[in-house]
């Protein structure tokens, strides 16, 4: 069974139900919508920066997390995971194919959302010189794609471990939106711990010095590498667990 | 007493139940039959006030379901055995139901005992097999000790012992004077359980009558006779004006007689001194009768070349 077949099977699965379409659509529309709102209310004579235009990427990321987690948990909920393992007894290859597909889709969604935001902003706000000239600008825009890719990997891994939609989603949403930001409130050590939080690291990669980390240890590129390592590590654990478990 | 009058339910353009009227009487098991998609479940859900009829009414002892006080003491129903929270124990499931209708907790233990789940009452229902869930569903239906009971495919998933048990419990409930309405696709089971039938197809009433009547109308009974003195018996039956057909059954020559009783054939044979090797009544099966009557009401025909004629009469 070749990887191509497995990925193609997974893509039929993913795109033959409604929720991934909704999630992906919203993941593209919301950041662009946010960029539009931001640009429209920005003073027309003051330039806006690329980083500010991309601020709404978090909406997209949340929906990508939801989409990727549901791609796994609904299979457990409706019993199709068993059918999958029946058709592909090598479970890891089936799950890797799913991860690859979901992550790939997430990356594309990220790219569309980021370029869409940029495009809308440059049309609506001609005063600003919005482009992909500097390394920072490139990272802020094109970087959304890898961030979404690895976010999706994390979500697939959590979905495999938790197997249950509500639990997986609560974890995946509360973690980046509440736990990671609140960590910085802890006096003395909070800010130091915070920069080792995966989604904060991803944010640091995208936004560089504008991210919430005051005194970063990692360079933006290293922050992405760190985020990727966390996601792949989590996936490895999830695959081992899924292989050992009864389906 | 359940009275259904001109009941209609539309979902968009599809008509699930179409001007359906029937009533279910106490003291007997009434079978509710129909092909898939005939509207049986929808009808049952409307009886319980779960779905709103587009038009028409359902009355339970003269009142709509939603107006019943403590409805569980009037109607007990099992529609889907899997409608239980998987992490809740069987006992807790019944306890909350009992509480809604102010039934004592003691009653919970009683019905658990009746369905044979006492030993597993505190286990989570999610770990139950379909058969055990089915028993839990039946316990829930019996909880309020209601006069009217309604079961949707109660035999589904039960093992043979359970099937036998439910057949007996339904007959017992009817003999206590209760109203019992049961839907099922298993006609060999229904033939043994239901005295009365309500048959629907495409949402419309096809027939409401006794089971025996239903079967006999569709396919009359025949009598199978085997004897070493075939010609003598044939002649004697001819003289009495009785029709006889020759067939080969189980590789033995056999006379098939229609339009009379086995008693009469036996007496004619005895009068002529004919030795009988077999004298048995062959009834049509409920399956045959049902398939004949609902033929055009079946919605999804499978393609097959293999079905043979009279499987229903196999013993």
């Amino acid at each position: 069974m070749s990887a191509v077949n497995l990925i193609s099977a997974e893509s039929i699965k993913l795109f033959s139900t409604r929720s991934p379409w909704w999630c992906n659509l919203l993941a593209m529309v919301l950041p662009v919508g946010f960029a539009t709102a931001a640009v429209l209310s920005w003073p027309t004579d003051v330039p806006i920066s690329v980083t500010e235009v991309q601020m709404g990427y978090q909406f997209g990321m949340m929906l990508v997390l939801v989409m990727a987690a549901l791609a796994v948990t609904t299979e457990y909920r409706f019993g199709t995971m068993r059918t999958t393992f029946q058709a592909v007894p090598g479970r890891s290859s089936a799950l890797l194919a799913k991860t690859a597909l979901v992550a790939g889709v997430a990356g594309l969604v990220g790219l569309v959302a980021a370029l869409g935001s940029l495009g809308v902003a440059s049309v609506l706000h001609p005063v600003s010189d919005l482009g992909l000239g500097t390394a920072d600008e490139l990272r802020a825009v094109l970087g959304v794609a890898p961030v979404f890719v690895f976010s999706a990997v994390i979500a697939v891994a959590v979905g495999l471990l938790v197997r249950q939609s509500a639990g997986a989603l609560a974890l995946l949403l509360v973690w980046p939106m509440l736990v990671e930001p609140l960590v910085s409130v802890i006096p003395t050590v909070g800010e130091h711990i915070q920069q080792w939080m995966p989604f904060v690291a991803a944010d640091h990669f995208l936004r560089g010095e504008r991210s919430m980390i005051a005194d970063p240890v990692l360079s933006p590129a290293m922050a992405l590498a760190y985020f990727a390592a966390v996601s792949v590590g989590l996936l490895a654990v999830a695959l081992v667990v899924a292989r050992r478990r009864d389906a | 007493m359940i009275e259904v009058e001109h009941l209609t339910k539309r979902y968009g353009r599809t008509v699930a139940v179409d001007d359906l009227s029937f009533s279910v009487r106490p003291g007997r098991v009434t079978g509710f039959l129909g092909p898939n998609g005939a509207g049986k479940s929808t009808t049952m859900r409307m009886i319980l006030g779960l779905d709103r009829p587009t038009s028409g009414t359902v009355r339970i002892d003269g009142k709509p379901y939603r107006e019943l006080d403590r409805p569980l003491t009037r109607v007990g129903a099992l529609l889907d055995a899997k409608w239980v929270h998987p992490n809740r124990s069987a006992r807790a499931h019944l306890r909350w139901m009992a509480r809604t209708n102010r039934l004592p907790n003691r009653r919970v233990d009683e019905v658990l005992e009746t369905v044979g789940l006492s030993g597993v009452a505190d286990r989570r229902a999610g770990g139950f097999s379909l058969g055990m869930s089915q028993r839990l569903g039946i316990a829930a239906a019996l909880l309020g000790d209601p006069e009217i009971l309604m079961f949707d495919e109660p035999v589904n998933g039960l093992d043979p012992e359970g099937i036998l048990w439910i057949r007996q419990i339904m007959q017992r409930l009817a003999s206590e004077g209760r109203t019992v309405l049961v839907s099922s696709h298993l006609l060999s089971e229904m033939a043994q359980t239901a005295e009365e039938l309500v048959v629907i197809g495409r949402g419309k009433l096809i027939r409401q009558c006794g089971t025996a009547q239903f079967v006999d109308e569709a396919s009359g009974a025949t009598i199978r006779v085997r004897t070493p003195q075939v010609e003598r018996l044939r002649g004697a039956l001819h003289q009495e004006g009785i029709e006889v057909r020759d067939e080969v059954v189980d590789e033995l020559p056999t006379l098939v007689v229609a339009g009379t009783s086995s008693e009469r054939v036996g007496e004619i044979a005895a009068a002529q001194g004919v030795v009988l090797h077999e004298l048995s009544v062959q009834r049509g099966s409920l399956e045959q009768a049902f398939l004949q009557l609902t033929n055009e009401a079946v919605e999804y025909h499978a393609h097959d070349g293999a079905t043979t004629g009279n499987e229903g009469t196999d013993r």
Partner: protein
Amino acid sequence: MTLLAVERIKLFSTRSPWWCVVVAVGLTVGFTALMSGFANEQGTVTVGFTQFSYQFGLMVLMVMAVLAVTTEYRFGTIRTTFQTAPNRAAVLTAKALLVAVLAGVVALAAAFLSFWVSDLLATNSDLSLSGADAWRNVAGTGLVAFLAAVLSVAVGILLRQSAAAVTVVLVWPLLVEGLVSLIPRIGQDIQSWMPFVAAHHFLFGGQPDSAEAAMMMGMSDVPYGPWAGIAYFGAISVGLFVVAVITASRRDA
């Protein structure tokens, strides 16, 4: 009363509410303890500081409230429920009330435990529950959780589906309300009228460290007082719940 008792049996006979209660209290109190432990040296622990982590508990309790409804739809027990008690408005109100009371009590317990734990750990700070503002801050979390649970039940009834409902009740307060303020010029005005911002203002408004608390939500000044804030939040919760009940009564179960 009967219906409340029924909902109580239902809620506590599955595991997830227990887990939610434990996690809600544990997270809130644990995080407060962590913060207070580190803040002890500076001696800057205030009443508001001990309540910063209320959102942890609140989110978990909202998830619990959503699941109390959506699992009934998922497992079909809602049909059994409506079969045993055909008055749907009464059933759903009983459920909302029970879940809300539970959420309120748990949040209250978490708030007082947080305060008490901070008091133990932050020996250098002079913590005391005196004054209306301090009491509103600590005891008010119960009220906020109560109303937030009603809102969550309403969302659950309307969406009937765990994944969607959980996403909505988490993304709304955590992301939407915060990011709204980033829209230039009008963003902050819109934000003041966001329900969870109003609830937050009820808890922390008018306190010495309200600025820090406001910053946490990424929010600015609001043009109304704390009690108006909770009234506004309550109106939205109850309004949504009424809409949900009407919808459920009309719908096929």
